[in-house]
């Protein structure tokens, strides 16, 4: 009888952020759907109440069903026979429950049968589901791929395929190949056209999450003789057409309930999605940004799971005649876990809000021309979303790994056994800093916002935003950190040396992230002091040591030092 939404008040806090008013009014286009759909909201309060009520369903399903099944799903895993995947029994129960609850196609428009939810409540559902079972979140979260069909497919494809997703069809994004991982430009899967114009796919894909899904997005080389990203197009494959078989599923370390497939395409019939040659350079980039936000949510959910397990154990376990949570060495770990969890969660929802606004303007611009003010607003949030997304993914996933490590540490020897959930959380977390772009690649994406000053201007904006009385001390400490960050960045950019920049990039990106998260928590503590003041205090102290550590390193670093590191 657990509800993973209502038992975590921070979620409702983020759902009720003041920017939601703007997001919802744009997303609902002044509540025009109310005449046509009996489940559409009539005003802002009604919409917010609906998100709250639907998240209650998600929380109940996550707490009572998905979390309950997680252990057995991890043991059973999926199986493959005759080219088809069978999910673990628990996974099948979870999926059916999500379908019955109408949680498929949550973010899609109502005309396709979706719920038309903004990114914020959708990502919140992903956060909640991940806490229950991160592996299952992958299957459920791949409904995100429908967004690509929505943005780039034609009207007929949207009507046909997105409607299927809203009814419960599962999806996959078939990008990676044996020789094309981080470097997707090397994709070889061949697409050619029959005499009648039908597209056919031939080749192999590897590491495809949920590779036996109902509807696939496939990146393939449509332009013969090309070797780079400009020869790749996006295709849609409907499993009912046949031609794609699962050759094997990987035996993974974690997220074991989610089948990771090697796929063989034999003259598989497919249809082009969008325009030729834009597959990688436009569509995958858009897809990846959505997927990265999804992984950030998955990471936060895992952090929450790790924290809940660790806290419960520390209260329960007695050594030397007292609960171990009473020992400073233990309560410090727990407090830092909680602070980092909420810091990355605040970053996640800030990012989600930015994504919401620019995406909805994208959508509105298909209906009418945006006004000059709207275009300005869109540019602002688009830039914020682009700069915050890699931060959110990188920090969230690294924190998830750290939280999982800490949870096991709190459990001591028991945590190393298979008896406690923390060992599954540890294994499940490990992938988050790898897939959908490693932390190192997130740094590559984020460093330009360090050098162009985007993060600094975000920080300056936060510094100028009023905070509640009593938080000035923390704010001043964040301001001091920003001075050091600025100094470090100036030092490196003045050198105009690419290797020095690449070498220090991670440290500068982290410094920016810590300062931004600190400010976000101050904002949270300003609206809800009771819920956030402790967290803000712990996190700012933690961030301060991290920022100083990085500052010291960058400050003392000389170009010659790199010789010690080069291999």
């Amino acid at each position: 009888m657990a509800n993973f939404y209502t038992d975590t008040p921070e979620l409702k806090h983020h759902l009720n952020h003041p920017l939601m008013k703007r997001i919802v009014e744009l997303k609902e286009r002044n509540y025009r759907d109310k005449e046509e759909y009996d489940y559409a909201p009539v005003d802002f309060e009604d919409a917010m109440d609906s998100y709250d009520k639907v998240l209650e369903i998600v929380g109940e399903l996550a707490g009572d069903t998905i979390a309950e099944n997680a252990k057995q799903v991890d043991i059973d895993g999926p199986s493959v026979a005759n080219g088809r995947v069978t999910y673990a029994p628990g996974t099948q129960v979870n999926l059916e429950a999500c379908r019955k609850a109408g949680l498929m196609g949550m973010a899609m428009a109502r005309r396709f049968g979706g719920l038309n939810f903004p990114v914020v409540p959708y990502i919140m559902a992903a956060d909640i589901v991940s806490r229950a079972d991160a592996g299952f979140e992958n299957l459920w979260g791949l409904q995100d791929c429908a967004e690509t069909i929505y943005e780039f497919g034609n009207e007929e494809q949207k009507m046909r395929l997105i409607s299927e997703v809203c009814k419960g069809a599962t999806m996959s994004m078939d990008l990676t190949e044996p020789d094309a991982g981080s470097d997707l430009q090397s994709v070889m899967l061949k697409a050619h056209q029959d005499a009648d114009g039908t597209w056919r796919l031939n080749g192999v894909k590897r590491f495809i999450t949920n590779g036996d899904s109902d509807i696939h997005l496939v990146l393939a080389r449509s332009e013969e003789g090309t070797h780079d990203g400009r020869g790749l197009s996006m295709f849609l494959y409907d499993k009912r057409d046949g031609g794609v078989n699962v050759r094997r599923i990987e035996n993974k370390m974690g997220i074991k309930g989610s089948p990771t497939c090697e796929l063989v395409y034999k003259n598989a019939k497919a249809e082009l999605c969008g325009e030729r040659r834009l597959g990688l350079i436009k569509y995958v980039m858009a897809l990846m940004n959505g997927a990265r936000l999804g992984i950030a949510a998955q990471s936060v959910g895992l952090e929450q799971a790790a924290y809940v397990e660790a806290l419960a154990y520390a209260k329960d376990r007695r050594q030397f005649a007292k609960a171990i949570i009473e020992f400073p060495a233990v309560y410090e770990i727990l407090s830092n876990m909680k602070a980092k969890l909420e810091a990355s969660r605040s970053l996640l929802y800030a990012t989600a809000r930015y994504v919401d606004i620019y995406k909805v303007f994208d959508d509105i611009s298909k209906e009418r021309t945006l006004t000059a003010d709207e275009r300005k607003e869109q540019r602002k949030y688009s830039k914020l979303a682009d700069s915050f997304t890699p931060l959110s993914k990188a920090i969230g996933s690294e924190f998830a790994n750290q939280a999982a490590y800490d949870a096991i540490q709190i459990h001591g020897g028991s945590g190393f056994m298979k008896d406690y959930a923390c060992e599954r959380i540890y294994r499940d977390s490990r992938i988050t800093s790898i897939y959908e772009g490693t932390t190192q690649l997130q740094t590559v994406a984020a460093i330009r916002y360090v050098t162009t000053g985007s993060y600094l201007s975000s920080i300056k904006e936060f510094e100028a935003t009023p905070t509640a009385p009593g938080l000035e001390g923390l704010k001043n400490r964040l301001k001091e950190m920003a001075v050091k960050y600025e100094k470090a960045v100036t030092k490196i950019t003045d050198l105009k040396d690419q290797e020095m920049l690449d070498f220090t990039a991670r440290r500068m990106v982290e410094m920016a992230a810590y300062i931004i998260m600190g400010h976000l928590l101050l904002q949270d503590a300003t609206t809800d002091n009771e819920l956030y003041v402790t967290t803000a205090n712990v996190f700012v102290r933690y961030a301060e040591t991290e920022v100083n550590k990085h500052y010291l390193f960058v400050d003392r670093l000389n170009k010659d030092d790199l010789a010690f590191y080069r291999k």
């Binding site: 489940y39 009539v42 609906s50 009520k53 639907v54 369903i57 019955k100 609850a101 109408g102």
Partner: protein
């Protein structure tokens, strides 16, 4: 073939998580200390009805519940899962009903609903554990009944096939519509609330609830009739006051005892086969296990 299904459901105090303040000093239930929930086996019953609706398009599910005004929540919970409408039997005169008076009230309401093929309810409610109401409703309406249902296997050409729980196993039985079915707690759990239905029906209210205020969405009630939940009084169902509520209840509670289990003696057992065997025999003898 589409079916018209009536689901009987009851709002009950959640007796599964009883704390020390669950009973008042006088032996009655302290309802304030226990959250009001959808009786668990009635949810199993609702799921069987929803599955029939899934396989028989065009079918309708009507929830029928009796209780105080706040029991309207039961109807909403049903609507959130796929039921089509519902009636709340509510009247001071219904209060204090035992199983006889309850089944009388439900039977009169079902006669008023009139057009139905199936009546499905949970085996029993967790506040009384009598398992009498379903069978009594069937008797009063002169309908056949199948109790302890695990699963409705099929319903074709007016014949329903049901897997039924019996001691030591299950049996498959058939019955002709219309009839009454009671469903076991071991049947499939009820599906979750559906996101669209929750958004559609969340403003649904009874007249009493509307009178209690918070009418932010007043214009919706004239626009969407499905948001107006029906309340029926004794008069609405042409009930005989003598047979309703306390006056229609031959059951008289003489006293309620608060039983507190106490460990009067402790026993030390060793980890030998002999001691374990003795313990098993003892527990079997006093019916703790077996």
């Amino acid at each position: 073939m589409s079916l018209k299904i009536v689901v009987l459901a009851k709002q009950v105090p959640d007796t599964r998580n009883v704390g020390k303040d669950a009973m008042k000093a006088d032996g009655t239930i302290n309802r304030a200390a226990l959250p009001a929930i959808f009786n668990p086996e009635d949810l199993n019953a609702l799921e069987q009805a929803l599955r029939l609706k899934d396989t028989h398009p065009g079918s309708t599910i009507t929830l029928l519940t009796m209780g105080p005004g706040r029991a309207a929540e039961i109807i909403r919970e049903g609507l959130y899962r796929g039921a089509d409408n519902g009636y709340l039997l509510t009247d001071r005169a219904f209060a204090g009903a035992d199983t006889l008076a309850t089944s009388y009230a439900l039977a009169t309401a079902i006669r008023k609903i009139k057009d139905f093929d199936l009546i499905i309810g949970g085996r029993q409610a967790i506040d009384g554990d009598t398992a009498q109401v379903g069978p009594q409703v069937a008797e009063k309406l002169g309908l056949p009944q199948i109790t302890y249902a695990e699963e409705i296997k099929s319903c074709e050409n007016g014949v329903i096939t049901i897997l039924r729980h019996v001691d030591g196993g299950v049996e498959t039985v058939q019955g002709k519509l219309p009839l009454v079915i009671t469903v076991n707690g071991s049947a499939s759990p009820c599906r979750p609330r559906n996101a669209k239905y929750v958004q559609k029906y969340k403003h649904a209210k009874t007249v009493t609830e509307k009178q209690q205020g918070n009418l932010d969405y007043e214009e919706l009630y004239s626009k969407h009739d499905y948001l107006n939940l029906q309340e029926w009084s004794v008069a609405d169902v042409n009930g005989d006051l003598e047979q309703c509520g306390l006056s229609g209840s031959p059951t008289k509670v003489k006293a309620v005892q608060n039983i507190v289990f106490q460990a009067k003696e402790s026993k030390t057992l060793t980890a030998t086969d002999r001691d374990v065997e003795d313990l098993i025999i003892e527990l079997l003898d006093n019916h703790t296990i077996g």
